[in-house]
């Protein structure tokens, strides 16, 4: 077993819960082309709360698993609270400590969510 590529991370990467696009969702996106990540997230918001969210795009296992795990966490949360989240919380959700270069991958999903404007 690898310290970083734990089973739970691989599961979210290979069989994500939230891949897709919400037709009536609010969308934001970001690219990190130097490592080949591109990500779009669409969210549905009712009374300030995220009631559904999906992501689409391509990238490394860490960036894709991180966004899927993040969406598990944020569905049901207020968007204003999501925007207050820190990178450290991503690592907490994933249950791993990341090196500086992989932080960039893992934080991509949160960066995109922070760009969502109601």
């Amino acid at each position: 077993m690898d310290d970083l590529y734990k089973e739970i991370i691989l599961d979210h990467y290979q069989n994500p819960n939230h891949r897709g696009k919400l037709i009536d969702g609010i969308e934001a996106g970001e690219v990190n082309m130097s490592c080949g990540d591109s990500l779009k997230i669409s969210v549905k918001i009712e009374e300030d709360k995220i009631v559904d969210a999906k992501f689409d795009g391509g990238g490394c296992a860490i960036s894709m698993a991180a966004v899927d795990m993040l969406l598990d966490k944020v569905i049901g949360m207020k968007l204003t609270d999501v925007k207050k989240m820190s990178g450290a919380e991503i690592e907490e959700i994933m249950g791993v400590e990341l090196t500086p270069s992989r932080k960039k991958c893992a934080y991509l999903g949160l960066e995109v969510l922070k760009k969502i404007e109601i």
Binding site: D2, D3, L4, Y5, E7, L10, Y13, Q14, M33, S34, C35, G36, D37, S38, G58, G59, C60, A61, I62, S101, R102, C105
Partner: protein
């Protein structure tokens, strides 16, 4: 032959498997010593210092220029020191007074250093015509590893347009094969010191004598002038005109030593050693069925970009991370500053690039292969 003994990094890290010489080469002890010697024994500024240590610094600096000139079969006056390949190519664009509607023929495989500057300052086209001002080509691709037959490309180009200015990016060539700029008949040839066992921060721009006369300075300041009055200035002759300010003296002297290092081993031996390892690398990677190689296997220097087209096997970033963390195998992941090329091949998430240097051994390649097997185990949950 094992050349690791010449590189002190392996004394501290005997298990380092460095396969990223395409990004930067490791430094031999002789180069480090030569630079330390400058800083400890004669650390003075060059030119116009009328005292012994400045005279010595100037001599060593100009000796390095002579070594570079001989190394690529040019004249000393044709060698301009820059900060690297990128700086060299930017210098050509600015010194030749490139305008927005000037046509520059570029290649899709070009490194961004030989692409973005032309895109920003000129007009990029992909076909040579009578109107083409500049032809910007790559001697050896930093992704495909292929040696381009630039001599015949230059010949063909000059038949269409005798006035065409030919700029060659030689960054990936100079440490691995002999280069003769006079025989190639290019106008400019750019390369970096740090990819040829020399220091970072120094590069070279070969400028054909005739073209140098057409160049205007791109930087102004000390060292590049002949006279200065309150109303106007005139420029120094030769390479000094383009070397404003205090140059990277220790780095230039270190580069001269790196050239001696290469010459001492000799290209015959370097090419034999690296060809044998390249064949071994290609053979071993060929045995892994989930890994594919970008580009042809023919006419290749020791530089191989690979990828997996199985979407469940992670991307180049994941593979390089596992290789580095678990095996101390150093490779590069991503687009290697060649995004148009990766886009052309439809590989948006990049490739893993392994590139060889004189210090590599079969064991380094074996570790790479072990790391790739582990990657497969991780992603298939075996």
């Amino acid at each position: 032959m094992n050349y690791k003994k010449y590189f002190p990094i392996f004394k501290k890290q005997p298990n380092l498997h460095y396969l990223d010489s395409g990004a930067t080469a490791l430094k031999p002890q002789v180069v480090i010593d030569k630079m330390v010697e400058y800083y400890t024994d004669y650390s003075a500024n060059i030119h116009r210092g009328l005292y012994p240590i400045s005279e010595r610094a100037t001599e060593e600096y100009e000796l390095a220029r002579e070594k570079v000139a001989k190394f690529i079969n040019a004249k000393m006056e044709e060698i301009i020191f820059t900060s690297g390949t990128t700086d060299s190519i930017n210098l050509v664009a600015r010194a030749m007074g490139l305008k927005k509607d000037d046509e520059v023929v570029v290649e899709i495989e070009a490194h961004h250093s030989n692409f973005v500057v032309w895109q920003q300052l000129g007009k990029i086209v992909f076909e040579i015509t009578k109107n083409t001002k500049i032809l910007a080509i790559t001697h050896v691709s930093n992704v495909l590893g292929q040696i381009n037959d630039i001599k015949s490309i230059i010949e063909q180009a000059r038949k269409i347009n005798p006035e065409i200015v030919v700029v060659v990016d030689g960054a990936q060539a100079v440490a691995h094969m002999p280069v003769d700029v006079t025989d190639l008949d290019c106008d400019f040839y750019a390369f970096s010191g740090h990819k040829m066992y020399g220091p970072t921060g120094v590069g070279v721009l070969y400028t054909k004598a005739k073209r140098q006369l057409e160049m205007e300075p791109a930087k102004f300041g000390g060292g590049m002038i002949k006279t200065v009055s309150t109303s106007e200035s005139t420029w120094a002759n030769g390479p000094e005109k383009f070397e404003a300010g205090t140059p990277p003296i220790a780095e230039v002297i270190g580069l001269g030593e790196a050239i001696d290092f290469i010459n001492e081993i000799g290209f015959e031996e370097i090419q034999k050693h690296e060809k044998e390892l390249t064949e071994y690398l290609l053979e071993k990677i060929g045995e892994i069925n989930w890994i594919k190689i970008l580009g042809s296997r023919e006419n290749k220097l020791g530089l191989v970009a690979m990828y997996s087209d199985d979407p469940k096997m992670g991307t180049s970033h994941d593979i390089a991370d596992i290789l580095g963390r678990d095996f101390n195998v150093c490779v590069r992941a991503g687009h290697h500053c060649a995004m148009p090329l990766h886009t052309k091949f439809g590989i948006e998430t990049g490739t893993v690039r392994a590139s060889l240097g004189i210090y590599n051994t079969r064991e380094d390649i074996d570790e790479l292969i072990k790391g790739l097997s582990k990657t497969w185990m991780i992603f298939t949950k075996k």
